[in-house]
């Protein structure tokens, strides 16, 4: 049954997943090409110095990409199903409703990660060839909360999308927006390092919120 749910989810998100993968790889590749061009024009020493002295990280344009990819994936995965009211059918499968929703969310999260990981690998492969470990780790650690925000956006959007009433959707949306701000506090590179373990745990607990929407859906709440 779980494999059948995986297949159903794959059918729903496959084109979006491909688009997200291309966007994720494309933007990372573009950022690395821009950096490679700067290295060839100004020399690696210039890049090292501006990183050390001026907190430059050269991947700023990627900051909100994981957020939008996560948000988009949840919209594609859950909104059409809710609009067509076919989500009810999922709950009639011979599997516990909470398990079914958990499997859907886990599948979406893993597929989202498969769009993030190649982008991170591209950055790692290029950066470690021109930068000292301290510097490429500096860049990747700085990007860590952005990717965590992508996961959070996915879970929050799923929570809002599964909510059956508009009033509560707005309230949940406001809570989600405020919470997402935590991942984008104005800060210097690597400022989140100490906070990341706690932020990761909290982010991985966010699917619990979807269970509230599921309960309200099953209780027949509607506008």
């Amino acid at each position: 049954m779980i494999r059948a749910i995986f297949y159903k989810e794959w059918i729903k998100i496959r084109w979006y997943w491909l688009l997200a993968l291309v966007a994720s790889i494309g933007f990372s590749g573009f950022a690395m090409l821009r950096l490679a061009r700067a290295v060839s024009l100004k020399g690696a020493d210039h890049i090292w110095q501006v990183m050390i002295d001026r907190d430059a990280i050269f991947i700023d344009l990627l900051q909100y990409l994981p957020l939008f990819l996560g948000l988009g994936l949840a919209v594609v995965q859950f909104v059409p199903e809710m609009q067509r009211k076919s989500f009810k059918l999922t709950l009639h499968l011979p599997i516990k409703a909470t398990t079914a929703v958990s499997v859907m969310l886990a599948y979406g999260a893993v597929m989202l990660l498969t769009t993030f990981i190649p982008a991170i690998l591209i950055k790692f492969c290029y950066l470690q060839s021109v930068l000292a470990p301290e510097l490429w780790q500096h860049i990747l650690y700085t990007a860590a909360p952005w990717y965590m925000a992508g996961l959070a956006a996915y879970f929050f959007t799923a929570w809002v999308a599964l909510e059956p009433t508009w009033g509560r959707r707005v309230l949940d949306g406001v809570i989600a927006l405020l919470f997402i701000r935590i991942y984008f506090q104005p800060a210097k590179p690597e400022a989140y390092n100490d906070f990341m373990p706690l932020l990761t745990v909290v982010t991985l607990m966010l699917p619990l919120l979807s269970m509230l929407s599921l309960t309200r859906f099953r209780d027949g709440r509607q506008d």
Partner: protein, 343 residues
């Protein structure tokens, strides 16, 4: 599962309320008090103050004397040196000492350090300039160094490889001078936009103080003897024009010390307490005195020090109560980290 979900939901709501409600209150209602511009004057032996009364600027001192703008220039002749020169009013002597404008300008300095200069993520790579190139202009090096448990490593930036020869030469010199790796803290000013370079002051693994620089491509490392019972904690290299000091040091007891050049003598200043991790400091110095302003959330404390022996001449405190309320925040003026804290 539902119960855990509900608890988690309310926990998130509680976090957001504890964060956003105090922020909203502070944004609209909190007021901070600023202390007036205050600078010690050896001419009058008191703090000179520029205050504001609605729209008017008041030039005064702590004794209550009121000055005109021109009089105030002469109260702070080293600070308003250029104005006095332009007016042809620069004195031949200040406090009985013969002076000239060039001498005054060379001896003048100001330095400012805030807690966020210390409490921030550090990359751990540093540029070591050539201190004695024989050229007037300094040049940035083509390598950077890191200090490991075993030694100092210089990494060539263009090739991203370790310069083994140079690394070995510097490591051997530092070991010979008694340096115990790794370093606990270091301070330098790696820029070519300065008059001269003094490299780095470094605390080793045993909290002993060293001065490291590169002269004619060779390592210069010198142990600096610290006074008995003093444990250095934070270092600030100075590189002021006067070249009279190498660095400022704060110790574990919140004392402020000066490392003098060229003797490497470490002298305690008359500043009663300065904690660089929570307080910001501004020092404005001249050939006669230093004005040291130390600020925290509650007050701005001003200390006047004798420029020669750093003894305390006078002090004054302005209360600057902060009417903001405590709430959950993720950033702070005291550091460059993002993490939840109540402030």
């Amino acid at each position: 599962m539902l119960r855990i979900s509900k608890i988690f939901f309310w926990a998130i709501v509680a976090v957001l309320l504890a964060w956003q409600l105090p922020w909203l209150y502070n944004f609209f209602f909190a007021k901070s008090t600023k202390s007036p511009f205050t600078l010690y004057s050896s001419v009058i032996g008191d703090f000179a103050v520029i205050d504001f009364d609605e729209k008017d600027i008041i030039y005064t001192d702590l004794a209550g004397n009121i000055y005109t703008e021109d009089e105030f220039d002469t109260v702070l002749p080293t600070f308003y040196c250029r104005q006095l020169m332009a007016d042809g009013r620069f004195p031949d002597t200040i406090c009985g000492v013969k002076v000239n404008p060039h001498q005054v300008q060379v001896e003048n300095f100001h330095a400012r350090y805030s807690p966020s200069d210390i409490n921030k993520p550090k990359i751990g790579l540093y540029a070591l300039l050539e201190s004695m190139s024989g050229r007037v202009d300094l040049q940035m090096p083509d390598d950077v160094f890191r200090i490991t448990n075993e030694g100092i490593e210089f990494i060539d930036m263009e090739s991203n490889t370790i310069n083994e020869q140079k690394s070995q030469r510097f490591t051997e010199m530092m070991l010979r001078k008694g340096f115990k790796f790794p370093a606990t803290t270091l301070s330098g000013n790696p820029t070519d936009r300065k008059e001269y370079d003094e490299g780095y002051v470094i605390l080793d693994a045993e909290h002993k103080l060293f001065h490291l620089k590169m002269t004619k491509g060779r390592p210069y490392c010198r142990a600096i003897e610290l006074p008995e019972g003093m444990t250095a904690k934070h270092l600030f290299i100075t590189e002021f024009s006067s070249r009279r000091m190498l660095a400022l040091i704060s110790d574990t007891e919140n004392g402020l010390w000066v490392v003098k050049r060229p003797t490497y003598e470490v002298v305690k200043t008359g500043v009663p307490s300065y904690n660089p991790e929570t307080e910001s400091i501004i020092i404005m110095g001249n050939m006669f005195d230093w004005t040291v302003g130390i600020s925290d959330r509650e007050s701005d404390r001003y200390y006047a020090l004798d420029a020669n022996d750093f003894s305390l001449l006078k002090s004054h405190t302005y209360d600057t109560p902060d009417s903001s309320i405590v709430g959950l925040t993720f950033t702070s003026y005291n550091d460059e980290f993002v993490r939840p804290r109540f402030e």
